[in-house]
Amino acid sequence: MKRLENKVALVTGSTRGIGRAICQRLAEEGAAVAVVGRSPETVEKIAQELRDAGFNARGYAADVAKSEDAKATVAKVVADFGRLDILVNNAGITKDNLMLRMSEEEWDAVMNVNLKGTFNFTQAAVRPMMKQRSGKIVNLASVVGRMGNVGQANYAASKAGVIALTKTTAKEFASRNIQCNAVAPGFVMTDMTAALSDDVRAMFLKVIPAGRAGSPEDIAGVVAFLASGDADYVTGQVINIDGGMLM
């Protein structure tokens, strides 16, 4: 029997990069997957790709920054699949700028998706999980949420917020058998990091003991572990997935 057989997973920001890889991995481990993203066409396309590969998947369009969208999406997923076992709060954006130049819009946009979006979906998902008396929530933090990073005041603060939110969620719902953990990726090859300059990329590689960037699959494997029964006694933790960049 596969590790996530009969489980239903909801993954936000799941049409590209790390989120896409997480959907794939959770599906391979046996979970039915609710693919959540902003564009109705894209979520349907990814869900169709997963179904073509023989997995159970459906697409749901939502803006994670909107509380109403989160509530409606979770309600639809529970209606369609009958339950909700795993929530992966993966949706995240960057709007990098040096603090002196950072606009209020850049700050708000990143906070609204990365931090408020994680809160919105967590708040909506814990209700069916409490009724079931079981659930796993995995949040995507970042090593920069622990280290800070030049040009990422908004992103780093949002990810530090995700870490505190992870620990609070773990404490509030531990008695209901809901575990909440975070993973903190280091430097991972995705569209998000492809936008960085060659100089910045070279600088990152120099400080990674493993000597290579991470892949979305490196992240998805740890997320699958935290979403599984193998991690039933793990809660409130942040696992760095960074090739040893931050120890």
Binding site: R127, M130, E172, F173, S175, R176
Partner: protein, 80 residues
């Protein structure tokens, strides 16, 4: 059609997983029925759903017994 008191009791039995005979008007949620703070929030949300009522936080905090919850719903429910 069951009375408000009966419906409230039913919800309490379901939410707190306690025997119906323990759910007397004098029973205190925390001391007598073993509810914790999360149970209380869940209970209030379940009552709001059932009766289409909005129970503000400050009112919810004052509902410490079964009888108080029934009285509150009787006074404030949309479908009494």
């Amino acid at each position: 059609m069951s009375t408000i008191a009966e419906r409230v009791k039913e919800i309490i039995v379901d939410q707190l997983q306690v025997p119906a005979e323990q759910v007397t008007p004098e029973a205190k949620f925390i001391e007598d029925l073993g509810a914790d703070s999360l149970d209380q929030v869940e209970l209030v949300m379940a009552l709001e759903e059932e009766f289409g009522a909005d129970i503000p936080d400050d009112a919810a905090e004052k509902l410490t017994t079964v009888g108080e919850a029934i009285k509150y719903i009787e006074d404030n429910s949309a479908d009494k």
